[in-house]
C-alpha cells in the first residue's frame, strides 16, 4: 500500500502526455459525440437539445438506409470470402519448403502500401477499357482451350489413380503394408499436367481448338447505379461499384489473413495429421477434422478484424469519390463524414453524431454476436 502512494506521482508524470491526449481526443470527444447526437447543431448556431429526434430521423433517411444496407452487405460478403479465401490459400501453400520466407514476404508486400495506392490501381483496372474487363474477355475467349486443358488433366489423373490403385493392391497383397494412392497424388498429377499440356497444344496446333469469337467485355463498373444482374443470388445483389470495392477488398486483405492462418498452421503438430492418416483420413478429411479445429483461435481473430475493418470501411469510398455515384458505394462511415462536410450545404453535426453512435454500437453488437456464436461453435 505504501508503494502505491509513493508511485502515484511518478506514474502521473509518466502518463501525463498520454493522459492529456486521451482526455481531449478520446474521452472528451466521445462524450461530446454522445451529446451532439441528441442535439440539432450546424456549427454556426448553438446546439439545440432535440432528444431522440436524430436517431428517429436516421431510419427515415433514404441515404442512411442505403448506407446501412451497403455496409451490412459489404461486411457480410467481404468477411466471408476473405476468411474462406485466406484459409484455402493458406492450406494450399502450407508446405515446409526452402525459401518460404521469401514467398511470405512476396505475398505481404502489397499490404504495406497505402490504401490510396492500391485503390487507385484498382480504379484503373476497373475502367471500361481496363484490365478487369480485358481479363474477363480473355477468359471467355479462351474458354474452349482452358476447358479442354482441365478436362484432359482430370481424366488423365483419374485414369492413373485407378490403374495405380489396382496395381498397388495386387502388389501389396499379403505384404502387410498399408499404402494407398491419393486422388491428388503429386507424382501422378505431374504426369497429368504434362499430358494436358501436350494434348491441348497438339489440338490447338492441329486446328481443332481455337479461341471463340466473343465481343469485348465492356462492363461499366463505376459510373453506374446498376446492380449485379438478377442471375446472382439475392445476397450478392449489390451495386456494381460496390461489388468492385468488395472485389478489391477481398483480394487485398487475403494475403494478410492468409499469413496469420499460415503462422498458426505451422504450429499444428505433425503428429495430429499422422494420427489422422493412420485412421484412414484423406487430405480433405484431415483439413476439416484437424486443420480447421486447430485454427479456431486464429479464425476468431480474423473474423473479428475482418468485421471491424469492413463495417467501418471508408477509404475506398472516399477514393472512388466523384468517379462513382455516391449512393452506389456509400457506407455508414462515409455517411458520417459526408454529413459533417456536405460541401455546399450546412453541416448536420447532430445527425452525423447519431449516425456515428449507431455505427459504433452496430460494430460492438456484431462483433460480440460473432464471438458468442464462434465460441459456442468451438466448444461444441
Amino acid at each position: 500500500m505504501r508503494a502505491r502512494g509513493r508511485e502515484f506521482l511518478p506514474a502521473l508524470m509518466f502518463l501525463l502526455p498520454f493522459l492529456l491526449v486521451l482526455a481531449v481526443f478520446f474521452v472528451y470527444a466521445g462524450v461530446r459525440a454522445v451529446y451532439f447526437s441528441f442535439t440539432d447543431y450546424d456549427l454556426f448556431n448553438a446546439p439545440q437539445w432535440v432528444g431522440l429526434a436524430n436517431y428517429r430521423a436516421l431510419f427515415s433517411d433514404d441515404r442512411f438506409l442505403t448506407a446501412l444496407r451497403n455496409s451490412l452487405l459489404f461486411a457480410a460478403i467481404v468477411t466471408t470470402f476473405q476468411t474462406i479465401g485466406a484459409l484455402l490459400s493458406a492450406s494450399a501453400v502450407n508446405r515446409r519448403v526452402r525459401g518460404m520466407t521469401f514467398f511470405r514476404s512476396a505475398f505481404y508486400m502489397p499490404a504495406v502500401t497505402s490504401s490510396v495506392v492500391i485503390t487507385l490501381i484498382f480504379l484503373w483496372l476497373f475502367q471500361r477499357l481496363g484490365g478487369i474487363n480485358y481479363l474477363i474477355t480473355a477468359v471467355s475467349r479462351n474458354a474452349p482451350i482452358i476447358l479442354t486443358f482441365v478436362i484432359v488433366m482430370v481424366l488423365a489423373q483419374g485414369l492413373q489413380v485407378v490403374v495405380e490403385r489396382w496395381r498397388l493392391r495386387r502388389r501389396l497383397r499379403g505384404a502387410g503394408q498399408q499404402r494407398t494412392v491419393s486422388l491428388l497424388d503429386p507424382a501422378l498429377l505431374a504426369v497429368a499436367l504434362v499430358a494436358a499440356i501436350i494434348v491441348t497444344t497438339a489440338l490447338a496446333l492441329l486446328g481443332y481448338l481455337a479461341p471463340r469469337e466473343v465481343q469485348n467485355v465492356a462492363i461499366n463498373w463505376l459510373q453506374t447505379r446498376q446492380e449485379v444482374p438478377a442471375s446472382f443470388p439475392f445476397w450478392l445483389r449489390v451495386p456494381l461499384p460496390l461489388a468492385a470495392i468488395m472485389f478489391q477488398n477481398i483480394f487485398t486483405t487475403i494475403p494478410t489473413y492468409m499469413l496469420m492462418f499460415l503462422a498458426a498452421m505451422q504450429d499444428v503438430p505433425r503428429s495430429q495429421y499422422e494420427a489422422a492418416a493412420l485412421d484412414g483420413a484423406n487430405s480433405v478429411q484431415q483439413f476439416f477434422y484437424v486443420t480447421v479445429p486447430a485454427l479456431q483461435p486464429v479464425t476468431f481473430l480474423v473474423v473479428t478484424l475482418g468485421l471491424i475493418g469492413t463495417l467501418q470501411m471508408f477509404d475506398q469510398v472516399a477514393i472512388f469519390g466523384s468517379s462513382v455515384p455516391l449512393q452506389s458505394v456509400i457506407t455508414l462511415a462515409y455517411f458520417v463524414y459526408n454529413r459533417m462536410f456536405p460541401g455546399a450545404q450546412l453541416p448536420e453535426v447532430g445527425f452525423a453524431s447519431a449516425a456515428a453512435m449507431f455505427l459504433a454500437l452496430l460494430t460492438l453488437i456484431i462483433v460480440t454476436l460473432q464471438r458468442t456464436v464462434l465460441r459456442a461453435e468451438g466448444e461444441r
Binding site: R32, A33, S105, V117, I121, Q127, A356
Partner: protein
Amino acid sequence: MSASAAMRQERERWEAQRRWARAGFAYLLLILFSLLFLGPLLFAALSSVKTDPLGYPPTLLSPQLAPANWAAAAKLGREGAKAPLWGGFAPGANVNVELTYFVPQGTEAAAPTATVPRRRPGGGLGAVQQIDYAADYAVVAPVVEVGRRAGVHGADAQAGEFVTYRVTVTYPGAGPKVDRLPLDVESASRAIEFVSSTLPPTRLERLGLVASFQAVTPGALGYLLGNYRRVFTEARSVTTGDSLFMRWTWNTFVYAFFRVVVTLFIATTAGYALARLRFPGRNLMFLLVLFAQMVPMQVLFISNYLVLRDGIWGLSSLWGQATLLNSLPGLLFVTALNAGPVFIMKQFFESIPREVEESAMMDGASYWSRFSRVVLPMARPALGALIILSFQGAWNDFFWPLVVLTTPEDIKTLPIGLLTFRNVYGNSGDWGLILAGAILSALPVIVLFIVFQRYFMEGVTYGGGKE
C-alpha cells in the same frame, strides 16, 4: 527375404518420386500465388511508363520498355538539347526524324507534311502554368526523301515501295529551352501508310493519317520515365509555383518523422507506467487503452475536428496559430491518440525481468533514470519495430490528413495529394500520371519493407499469435 528387400526398395523409390513431385507443386503454387497477389502492383508499375495505360488491349510491355527506343530517344535528345538523358528543345537544335511509309504499286509517292503543333502537355493542374511553346521557336525544314526500296507489306502482302523521309526541325537564334518538342507528321494521302519511324509516335491520329509525337526529343530517361517526370513538373502550386508532388513528399516525410517521435515518446512513457508502476486507477486506465482501440474514428472525429478548429481552446494562439486545421501540428496532436503502441510497449516492458531494474533501484536512482538508463536501452528491438511500423502507418495515413489538411494543395501529404491527382487527371483519362504518382509514393514503404521485412512479418504473426 530378398522379396521384402525389393519391396522396401520399391517403396523408397515410390516415396522419393512423391517427395520431388510434392516439392515441385509446392513451388509452382507459391509462384502462382505470388504472381496473383503481386499482379496488380506489378502490372501497374509496368503500365505506369506507357503514354496511355488505358490503351486496349492492355499489354505488359510497351514501346517505352524497348532498349532500341531508348537509344533513338537518346540520339534525338542529344540533337534537341544536347541532353541524351532528359531531352528538350534548346537553341541550336537540329533534330532529324526519319519516317518510313509504304506506297502501294500504282500510287504516286508524295512527301508527308510536318508541323510543330502548339499543344499543351496534359490538362489538369498543368493548365494554369505559363509555359513556352516549342511551336514559337521551331523551324521545320522541307521534308526530304532519303531512301526507297521495293517490298511487300500487310497481311495481304501487297507489293509496293517503302519510302523513307527525313523531317528536320531546327531552333535558330536565341530563346528559352523548351521541355518538349511535339511533332505531327501527316501522310500525303490515305493510300500511303505509315510504317515506322526513328522513335515510335505517341499515337496515330485520324485513322492512321497523322503520326503524332508528344515529344520527339525526349532523351532516354525522358522517354522511359515521361510520366514520372510529369508527376513532378506538371502539377504546380498556384501560389509558389513549386512542384506539388515534391511538397507532398516532403510533407509526408516530415509528418511521418514527427509522428514516429511522438509515438515513441508517448508509447514508452505510458507503457512503462502501465507495466511497472502501481497507482490507483491503473486497471481503469488499462481498460481505457483497450477501449480506445475499438471506438471507430467516425465517432471521435466530429469533436476532434472542432477542437482543432478552435486551436485546442485557444491554446495554439500561444504560438501564433489561431486554428490547428490545415497545419502539421494539428495533425500530430490528433494522431497522438494511438493506443496500439502503448499496449505493445506495455507488453514488452512486462517481459523484462524486474530484477534488472531492482539492482539499479538499490543505488537510489530516480524513476526517470531507471526508465531512461536501464529499461529503454533494453527495449531497443521493440523500439526498432515500433519506429518502422509507425513510420509506415504515418506514410500511408489517409483519414486524418483528409480531415485536417484541406487547403491549400501545398500542405497535403502524399495519400491525399494522390486523391487530388485522381480528381484532376482521372476524369480526363490521364492515368499514366496517376499510376506513376501512385508507384512513386509507394516506393519508400516498399524499400522500407524490403530492408526491414522481419519487423513487418513479426507484426503479422504477432497478430496471429494473440488470443
